[in-house]
């Protein structure tokens, strides 16, 4: 009996009991799909991180305030940014940023809600947000509280269509602002759509969009761009010392956090690492359970078909023929599970991505890995029942009812 004939015999036995065969292979289907999904989700998470890092800009120091307490709001202020810019050496730019609740933007009859960010002139440079057309605001705009606005590419397109937005007047909330520039598309990273937001001078935000006195002058984040990567450590130390002095807090109990891109990368990588390890275990365990399921059913099947085995032996089947037939059944079950599982895993990953539930990236080698492990599961867990069948005593087997 050659291998194809063995496959034929196995196939006939399996289609005899379609539902049972399907249920048997379900464990492998889930395991294989889990492996592929797990790898796609990890790859997706990594891609998101890479994009976030790229979106930040290069050689960046990021200063944020620690969470405020009642009566004492987050402590970072615009003056801190000015102080850093003035006193810390080796910086090519410093920008401060404050976010406000999103506002309705209106031009003519078109209007919709968009995110609003108040910032300072260096923002374009340190956060690497180049302009498509027009200009970014200047220190003069900031000092004079000029009512100017820069649009993200999506906002510009939705609001103006084919019209050139520069020098047009828009209404943002209740304030009239003149468009002076439009940014190049930057895309969507994680939950932030860089193209669906607008930028105005920080001072205008304080004047027109923040009403509570307590919030005035506060900033959410300060970005500082370091000229030379090698001096990063000393720059960090300088900024920390300066801010501690400004805020009159001890250095070992700061009310702010100073981070580099490297710190952020490491934190996020640690998170995805844990995530991936966990998912890998889930996938491995479900493949194992799937394999045990196959072995279980194969053992039942050998018992049920004891007499059949006896008949086959009596007409000349060798032990190897019987072993081959049952091993083939297990392998076909696993491979079928592998194929359906790969389809399911790829489909699931695609669906997650399309519906925006989770960013996923299908990794080609994961399909090969999942498929190969399903075949391996079949051989491994099929071997014991197949051996049991091959070693049956023919007379006992023929007497079996």
């Amino acid at each position: 009996m050659n291998i194809f004939e063995a496959m034929g015999l196995a196939w006939e036995a399996l289609i005899q009991n379609k539902l049972r065969s399907f249920l048997t292979t379900l464990g492998v289907i889930i395991g294989v799909a889990a492996v592929i999904l797990m790898i796609a989700i990890s790859a997706g998470a990594e891609a998101v991180i890479a994009e976030q890092i790229n979106a930040l800009g290069a050689n960046l120091v990021i200063v944020t305030a620690t969470r405020g307490t009642p009566g004492r709001p987050p402590s970072l202020v615009y003056d801190d940014a000015l102080a850093i810019s003035k006193e810390v050496k080796g910086l090519t730019g410093v920008a401060a940023e404050q976010t406000v609740a999103s506002q309705v933007i209106k031009w003519g009859t078109v209007n919709f809600e968009t995110a609003l960010l108040g910032t300072t002139p260096d923002f374009a440079k340190v956060r690497e947000t180049p302009l498509e057309t027009g200009r970014f605001f200047t220190q003069t705009d900031l000092d004079r509280k000029n009512k100017v606005i820069i649009l993200g590419s999506k906002v510009a397109k939705d609001l103006f269509g084919e019209t050139n937005p520069v020098d047009q007047e828009v209404l943002l909330g209740t304030t009239r602002l003149t468009v002076i520039g439009v940014l190049k598309p930057k895309g969507k990273v994680a939950d932030t759509d860089y193209d669906d937001r607008v930028y105005i001078p920080l001072t205008v935000v304080y004047q027109r969009y923040l009403t509570q006195a307590m919030q005035l002058n506060r900033v959410r984040t300060i970005y500082a761009q370091v000229e030379n990567k090698e001096t990063m450590d000393s720059t960090l130390a300088q900024i920390k010392a300066l801010l501690a002095r400004q805020h009159a807090v001890p250095l070992d109990k700061p009310d702010f956090v100073v981070q580099t891109q490297q710190d952020i990368i490491q934190t996020q990588q640690a998170t995805t690492e844990t995530f991936r390890t966990l998912l890998a275990w889930v996938a491995a365990v479900s493949l194992l359970v799937g394999g045990i399921g196959i072995m279980n059913i194969m053992l039942v099947s050998v018992t049920e078909r004891t007499r059949e085995i006896g008949v086959r032996v009596s007409i000349g089947a060798r032990p190897i023929d019987v072993r081959m037939q049952f091993l083939m059944e297990a392998i076909i079950l696993s491979l079928f599970g592998g194929i359906v599982g790969v389809t399911g895993g790829v489909g699931g990953a695609w669906l997650f991505n399309e519906t925006g539930a989770m960013r996923t990236e299908i990794v080609p080698w994961s399909l090969a890995l999942a498929f190969a492990s399903s075949a391996l599961v079949g051989v491994f867990f099929g071997f014991f029942p197949a051996n049991k069948a091959a070693n049956l005593d023919p007379i006992e087997a023929l007497r079996h009812e």
Binding site: M1, L9, E308, G310, R312, V313, G316, R318, P394
Partner: protein
């Protein structure tokens, strides 16, 4: 090991002092207790005897499904006791055709598929799928089932099922056919048909050894071997009546 001197070229089966002992706890059961038997090429032997006389055990040993505890079995001058698993399988496959009281067809396969099966397990002189089907169809036609090729066993009568089993036993052209109570589950008309087929085969040169406890069936054989308590008590046509009387 050399074959015994007395073995002539015509002997298909030679059994020498074969014993089969089962140890079930304290009791030692002697299913076969020193059996000697020669069957020459072209013979039609009926084996009779009451239940527990050892005839089925002997059949299993002749069919290479079981090993004797002691003694030797030569099939066409070859010592079966010396054979490896693979050779025994080949023996069952090509040199012996086995038919059973309960037919032992595979229920989920058609008559044609059942008959094709022994050719699937053949190791030497293998033939392709198309040829296998041709041979199987010819075998089924020879037992009068040319119009039942695609019926499954549960769609066939007992007599028809046994004829499928005979076709299956024949496809690899064995020189010896072993029949263990082939008519035990059949009505008398079907029994006569089956015996007709077996006699025909015997006339074509196939050696047949058949277990039965029906005198009507045994009379189709030219030689009757009577067993009792694991021993052969008579051998020859005359023994048949004796064997049945003792049984009563």
């Amino acid at each position: 090991m050399n074959p015994p001197e007395t073995l002539n070229g015509n002997a298909v089966i030679r059994i020498e002092n074969v014993r089969k002992v089962y140890n079930t706890g304290e009791v030692e059961l002697r299913a076969l207790d020193g059996v000697n038997l020669d069957v020459r090429r072209g013979e039609f032997v009926a084996m009779m005897g009451p239940s527990g006389s050892g005839k089925s055990t002997l059949m299993n040993i002749l069919g290479a499904l079981d090993h004797p505890s002691d003694g030797r079995y030569f099939l066409e001058d070859e010592d079966v006791g010396e054979m490896e698993q693979e050779d025994l399988a080949d023996l069952r496959n090509r040199r012996i055709g086995f038919i059973f009281q309960s037919f032992n067809l595979l229920q989920r396969m058609t008559a044609l598929q059942n008959v094709t099966l022994p050719m699937l397990y053949r190791v030497e002189n293998r033939v392709g799928h198309a040829t296998r089907e041709e041979i199987a169809i010819a075998a089924l036609e020879s037992v009068g089932l040319g119009d039942r090729l695609y019926h499954r066993p549960n769609q066939l009568s007992g007599g028809q099922q046994q004829r499928v089993a005979i076709a299956r036993a024949l496809v690899n052209r064995p020189s010896l056919m072993l029949a263990d109570e082939p008519t035990g589950n059949l009505d008398s008309k079907s029994s006569e048909e089956i015996m007709g087929i077996l006699q025909n085969l015997n006339r074509q040169g196939v050696t047949i050894v058949m277990v039965t406890h029906e005198a009507d069936i045994a009379k189709h054989a030219r030689r009757v071997v009577c067993m009792r308590d694991g021993k052969i008590v008579s051998d020859g046509r005359a023994g048949a009546q004796n064997c049945l009387e003792r049984k009563r």
